[in-house]
């Protein structure tokens, strides 16, 4: 297992480097410039000067290698300094956003909490809803419960989140006034009241995303359960006189989880990627909103850094999914 992990990690490095180069070239080639957010009233010569100061006009490979150095040398050093109070990174140029002129990593760190709480909660909630629904739908295949579950899941797939978000706002924020329509990122949970406030402001975005995630995962769980419910070992378990609850929850679910766990693990990078539309609708302003804003503003350092981190996460969770697979299923061993 260890060598398998190491091997995969080793192969991941060239892959990731290549991906990073491609992302860089792609974002650089993409039309749009960091000037698009600047009003037309700013004259062209001033624009050119601003671009120059940002370093936009350097040749692309110079910028790429500078980014590489910043990402792999400077930023880790900054982190080191931060933890151990040293000052190795003094005077080194960090990756700086063209839009806000602040280090991209700081922005990412700043955005992490709301992304993790909102998107993370919705993912966890989605999974928690999806699993029982999937299990029960499969156990009672073609029952009313199953049919309705299928129907709702399909709706969950097909209705875009901007639409569900809007409907929720109109119902719960405008008409019922239960929940705020705008997420307050500076809210700190210190007591029961602020906890309630936090719960209320998370309610709607979490609902929207949980519906979407649950729809997908419940389908996987259902089909996996269906496959395993007919397996021979289930019959063996019944022949031992075990109760249905134990047969299903102990024997079938654990086996059915094997493929589903990898699906769930592979979905986790998308938490960090953020749910772009939902974040915008409710102004959660997490990483997804950061990325989309950066892309619209052609903020190359931010886009590059964020997408590269996502790429790392994708590769990493691919690996984690494989390892989980190996751990859950004793038949698979990676050596």
């Amino acid at each position: 297992m260890l060598t398998f992990t190491l091997r995969r990690l080793m192969f991941a490095i060239p892959t990731l480097l290549f991906i990073s180069l491609l992302i860089f070239l792609l974002v650089d080639l993409a039309p749009g410039s960091p000037m698009s957010q600047i009003p037309l009233t700013v004259p062209p010569d001033v624009r050119l000067k601003i671009m120059e100061a940002m370093g936009v006009n350097e040749p692309v490979f110079v910028r790429y290698f500078l980014w590489l150095k910043q990402f792999f040398v400077v930023e880790p050093l900054v982190l080191w300094d931060h933890w151990f109070g040293t000052s190795y990174s003094d005077g080194m140029q960090r990756i700086v956003s063209w839009q806000s002129r602040s280090p991209v990593m700081d922005i990412i760190v700043e955005r992490m909490p709301q992304t993790l709480t909102v998107i993370g909660t919705s993912y966890v909630l989605g999974v928690m809803i999806a699993l029982p629904i999937g299990i029960y739908s499969a156990y009672r295949q073609y029952s009313w419960f199953d049919q309705i579950g299928t129907f709702i899941a399909m709706i969950g797939f097909s209705v875009p989140t901007f639409f569900t978000g809007l409907v929720l706002i109109l119902v719960f924020a405008v008409n019922l006034q239960w929940f705020p329509s705008i997420y307050d990122t500076s809210l700190r949970v210190t007591d029961w009241d602020s906890f309630l406030a936090q719960a209320r402001q998370m309610a709607m975005p979490v609902m929207v995303l949980a519906l979407f995630n649950a729809a997908q995962i419940s389908r996987y769980m259902r089909s996996s359960m269906l496959e395993n419910l007919g397996a021979d070992y289930v019959r063996t378990a019944r022949a031992k006189g075990l109760s249905e609850r134990i047969v299903v929850l102990k024997h079938v679910v654990r086996n059915s989880m094997i493929p589903v766990v990898t699906v769930i693990a592979l979905g986790i990078p998308s938490i960090f990627g953020g749910a772009i539309i939902t974040e915008q609708v409710f102004r959660v302003n997490g990483l997804g909103a950061l990325l989309i804003g950066a892309i619209q503003g052609s903020d190359l350092p931010t886009v590059q850094t964020l997408t590269f981190i996502f790429a790392v996460l994708i590769v990493l969770f691919n690996l984690i999914a494989d390892i989980l697979y190996g751990m859950l299923d004793p038949r698979i061993r990676y050596d």
Partner: protein
């Protein structure tokens, strides 16, 4: 019988297998270094004569299928040579190999799995014709019908899908496919294992009829020893990638020489309660060792009831211990030393194919 009725004509070797090795590599570690092998077939020698049926028996996982597949070069051999009609299959170029394929065919173990569920019988049977002839559609169809008649399938079934057939019928489709290009040599890899007793007999009879009619040569792989006794002229007993014994049928069944062959034969239940009650069985203890890590010396030494110290040290070679009987065992001393290691040194006489006495 072999001795009783010596053949008048000198029989020719169709297939010559020399020191065949088939290893499946195991790669481990950070750099996927080649650290070991599954020695599925570990250096075996035998010949198959024109028109005979060689039975290949042994327990599950001992490498029977691997031998069968290697013979048709469905695997790239690790070492050794397989000469069929004077041409070494192991070294043929892909195109030459493709040209050679019509003369050697295979019938598979699982009649369900070896037929593409989305092709009709006609499509399945004519696939070899599509590949190796440039006949018109009508010619092919005519040949397909002819083949279906030959294996006893109603022509009406030509447009059906495999799922609509019983196991025995499916196996006939597989046989028809194998016959399409008029092969000389057919590897039958457990063709009856998945079938019902009553249907096994139908398939075996069919194979025998075809052999008689077309002069085919079979390698008949099975672990059903009673069926092998019925169909094979000579039988090879394999254990853990090596051949333990090759003998003509009757002497083997009457008097197995290798301890493993003895155990194997004694384990076959007899459908006669009175005989079954009195029969003495040799029950082997323990499990088959892993083919990736076979024991030193004789590979049967871990389970052999008659094991002696030398077995654990020295690998016994296959040697002719009685006329036509080859055994790899230290306990069975060779009578004729110069024949050690190979069957090629002696002229094994073919037992009469047609003249099986009608007792």
């Amino acid at each position: 019988m072999l001795d009783a009725k010596p053949s008048v004509k000198l029989v020719t070797k169709l297939v010559e297998v020399k020191d065949l090795k088939m290893y499946f590599p195991i790669h481990t570690g950070l750099f996927r270094r080649h650290t070991g092998d599954v020695k599925a077939v570990d250096g075996i020698n035998f010949d198959i004569y024109q028109g005979e049926t060689l039975g290949l028996v042994g327990e599950s996982g001992c490498g029977k299928s691997t031998v069968g597949r290697a013979l048709l070069r469905l695997y790239e051999l690790t070492a050794g040579s397989v000469t069929i009609e004077g041409e070494d299959i192991a070294t043929l170029e892909p195109e030459a190999l493709r040209k050679k394929r019509p003369m050697m065919q295979m019938v598979f173990q699982d009649p369900q799995a070896c037929l593409n569920p989305r092709m009709t019988v006609a499509q399945i049977v004519s696939e070899p014709l599509d590949e190796h002839t440039d006949w018109s559609a009508d010619q092919k169809l005519a040949k397909v019908y002819e083949l279906m008649d030959a294996v006893g399938l109603n022509r009406v079934f030509a447009n059906r899908y495999p799922h609509a057939f019983s196991g025995g019928q499916r196996q006939r489709i597989g046989i028809a496919r194998a016959l399409a290009l008029n092969p000389k040599f057919i590897v039958c890899d457990e063709p009856i294992a998945a079938l019902d007793v009553s249907i096994q007999a139908q398939v075996v009879n069919l194979l025998e009829d075809l052999q008689e009619k077309l002069g085919l040569t079979y390698l008949f792989i099975s672990h059903d020893l009673s069926m092998v006794r019925h169909i094979a002229d000579r039988v090879a007993v394999m254990y853990l990638g090596r051949i333990a014994e090759i003998s003509p049928r009757e002497p083997l069944y009457a008097d197995p020489l290798h301890p493993y062959a003895k155990a194997l034969l004694s384990a076959v239940p007899d459908p006669d309660p009175s005989r079954e009650a009195t029969r003495q069985r040799i029950i082997l203890k323990g499990d088959v060792p892993s083919p990736s890590n076979p024991p030193k010396g004789c590979n049967f030494c871990t389970r052999c009831p008659e094991v002696i110290p030398i077995c654990r040290e020295v690998k016994p070679e296959l040697a002719e211990v009685r006329p036509g009987r080859f055994v790899a065992c230290h306990l069975v001393p060779a009578q004729n030393n110069n024949a050690a290691g190979s069957t090629s040194g002696t002229t094994v006489q073919k037992h009469n194919q047609q003249g099986e006495p009608e007792q």
